[in-house]
């Protein structure tokens, strides 16, 4: 083929990434799925104190968006953030430990499922407030620009956040200041129970980009390659100093909003249709079809992840609880004046 052209039958990620990176991406997708299944099972056994928001079915958007990022690049995440954590390099053992409220957890048992963060890997944290991470992501991008680090920030949020004021303020500021931030909307069709059709004035959330003079693109969020291609393009644009982009990844959560959800707002048919579009076997098939893995490799990988998750749960169970005497320890930085009362 002449230079600059390519076979469009070969997916973007197969062209753009080393086989090892793609096998790692598939591994992370399995880790997310099995972490969340393990979390759900642990919840049923009473090991988890609070609620949880599972992203089962959305693994491709988390892993695809983070595929081209380095540890210097930042992400901000959401209440449905386990996938983003794993995609950005979090250790499932410390994630389970956080879930179980243990001192060895990412937040030392103070944050729980909704606040898992790992700043050492560029993960600035999940967020319990819908839209809470959007301005923060823009701030991280401002730091990168001012300090000239070359880093970008990927800001994950859901369709629910697109109607928050914080979304509109954040996109406007990012655009006016041309900051290196990529807004990735994981549109799973429902903000809790309310569909985007009933809540959102535009047919596609990507159309919001027009108001903020930035590229807006809607992609199949269950196709890892499509997500990675869109985000990588936006990352390149951001790194070049050309400012932010908005990407909408169309996807679906198989489980309810949280543990209290009785699925009264959607049909069994709808759920089953989306389950048939499971992003994990889809990506595995891509790797097998292009000779990057065999069926046996995939089976072995899955078994390896099963064992890792089992070990992670055991680590979390055996970890110590935080000390009640240290309950206020991290409210203020040690050595700085704390509240005297």
């Amino acid at each position: 083929m002449p230079e600059g052209t390519f076979d469009t039958n070969i997916p973007y990620v197969v062209r753009a990434y080393e086989p090892q990176a793609l096998r790692e991406a598939l591994r992370k997708m399995y880790v997310i799925r099995k972490f969340e299944e393990g979390a759900e099972a642990s919840y049923m056994r009473g090991l988890v104190h609070g609620t949880m928001h599972l992203s089962i079915g959305q693994e491709a958007s988390a892993v695809g968006a983070c595929l081209g990022l380095t540890d210097e690049d930042k992400i901000t995440s959401t209440h449905r953030g386990h996938g983003h954590c794993v995609a950005k390099g979090a250790d499932p053992a410390r994630m389970f430990a956080e879930f179980f409220g243990k001192e060895t957890g990412y937040c030392k048992g103070r944050g729980g499922s909704m606040h898992i963060a790992d700043p050492s890997k560029g993960n600035l944290g999940a967020n319990g407030i819908v839209g809470g991470g959007l301005p923060i992501a823009v701030g991280a991008a401002l730091s990168a620009k001012r300090l000239d680090t070359g880093a970008v920030t990927v800001c994950f949020f859901g369709d629910g956040a697109n109607n928050e004021g914080a979304f509109h303020e954040a996109l406007n500021i990012a655009s006016v200041w041309k900051l290196p931030v990529i807004f990735v909307c994981e549109n799973n069709k429902y903000g809790m129970s309310t569909s985007t059709e009933r809540s959102t004035s535009v047919a596609s959330i990507a159309d919001r980009a027009v108001s903020y003079s930035m590229p807006g693109l809607s992609v199949d969020g269950n196709d890892l390659s499509s997500v990675a291609e869109a985000v990588d393009t936006a990352v390149a644009r951001a790194r070049a100093g050309d400012g932010p982009s908005l990407i909408e990844a169309l996807t679906y959560r198989w489980r309810g909003h949280s543990k209290s959800d009785r699925n009264r707002y959607r049909s069994k048919d709808e759920i089953e249709n989306w389950m048939a579009k499971d992003p994990i076997p889809r990506f595995a098939t891509t790797l097998i079809e292009h000779g990057l893995m065999t069926d046996a490799d995939v089976t072995a990988l899955e078994a390896e992840v099963d064992a890792a998750i089992e070990a992670a749960i055991a680590f979390a169970k055996e970890s110590p609880d935080p000390l009640i005497a240290e309950v206020t320890r991290d409210v203020y930085t040690p050595g700085s004046a704390a509240c005297t009362r």
């Binding site: 957890g105 050492s120 004021g165 954040a170 500021i173 006016v176």
Partner: protein
């Protein structure tokens, strides 16, 4: 200091603090509405944009939630932003980022990240700007663990507390009374800090303790001079920091005088003076009280427009005089 000190206005002192910080530390940036060529709604940033450029003295859109959140995210990732609200009342538009994010991120994330953001709030009544531009909301933010809240009453402390806030690793909220911006006072040259969490005894006395904040410190001092002429020797304590509150200075004064009046401009109910009073009532200093504590705070009302009404809803010097005379005469 033995040399006679030069005088600066409160606004000039704040500007000098920001100038020192911008000049010493490349990671310091100013953000806010109209703080660039306009110089800030109260001319606090003044001409700093000409010295440091628009990349470091950044006009934000009118976008309090977004702007405050950008400052929070920048503080988490290597910058030291000073975010100016045009009026403290507009904090209501940004409470999500201040209360749910800035204050809690360090704790929620198990101490793995700090949020060294400084937010400045022009506060208080007396300008005829009515209900949405005149509030004293320090108790709102003082109620939130994770924040530090200061209220400088003098130009020297305005500079010293701002420089201390920049050295603090956690979010610091600075409430600046608008009426004080033009007040002049001695201000030391160069870099120094006023400790966060330390009150200052402005006038020593033995008959009663007046614990005041912000503009009320000046009213309390004026009242104390009059009371001195009447043989009532009042001690005036400038609280300076609302959170963390300087327990020791307040309790020591009450143990000495046995009488306490709290004077603050925020709404009296559930306000700063309620906390000071409770702090005394819960401590050994309670045993030293010779009379019930008196609180003088803002009325149960929004701030009205009419100048006489506006004065009526916050403590004035005659109110302090009356309370002090009653207190001095009271016997348990």
């Amino acid at each position: 200091m033995t040399e006679p000190q030069r005088e600066l206005s409160y606004a000039e002192a704040l500007r000098e603090a920001m100038d020192i910080a911008l000049s010493a530390d490349e990671s310091v940036v100013l953000m806010g509405e109209d703080i660039g060529v306009y110089g800030g709604a109260f001319q606090v940033t003044g001409d700093l944009v000409h010295k440091y450029g628009e990349d470091r003295v950044m006009d934000t859109p009118i976008s309090e939630l977004g702007g405050a959140g950008v400052a929070v995210g920048a503080a988490m990732t290597g910058l030291k932003p000073i975010f100016e609200f045009q009026f403290s009342d507009f904090a209501a538009l940004a409470m999500e980022q201040i209360v749910n994010q800035a204050a809690k991120i360090r704790y929620m994330l198990g101490g793995s990240v700090s949020v060294p953001v400084v937010m400045r709030f022009p506060a208080g009544s007396g300008t005829g700007a009515a209900a949405q531009h005149s509030q004293s909301i320090e108790a709102w933010l003082g109620h939130v663990p994770g924040l530090k809240v200061v209220q400088p009453s003098t130009p020297a402390d305005a500079k010293g507390l701002l420089l201390a806030a920049l050295e603090a690793p956690d979010p610091v909220m600075i409430f600046e009374h608008k009426i004080l911006y033009k007040m002049k006072g001695p201000v030391p040259e160069g870099h120094y800090t006023t400790p966060i969490g330390k009150a200052e005894v402005r006038r020593e006395g033995t008959a009663l303790s007046i614990v005041a904040t912000s503009l009320m410190v000046h009213k309390a001092r004026e009242a104390a001079e009059t009371l001195g002429g009447e043989g009532i020797d009042a001690e005036v304590i400038d609280l300076r920091t609302v959170r963390p509150m300087d327990r020791e200075t307040v309790l020591a004064s009450v143990r000495k005088t046995g009488r306490l009046v709290c004077v603050y401009e925020g709404v009296k109910t559930l306000g700063v003076g309620a906390e000071v009073s409770a702090m005394v009532a819960e401590s050994d200093a309670f045993d030293f009280l010779d009379a019930p504590i008196i609180r003088l705070g803002g009325a149960e009302s929004p701030i009205p427009y009419n100048p006489e009404l506006e004065k009526a809803v916050v403590p004035q010097v005659p109110d302090i005089l009356q309370a002090a005379r009653d207190l001095a005469a009271a016997r348990v």
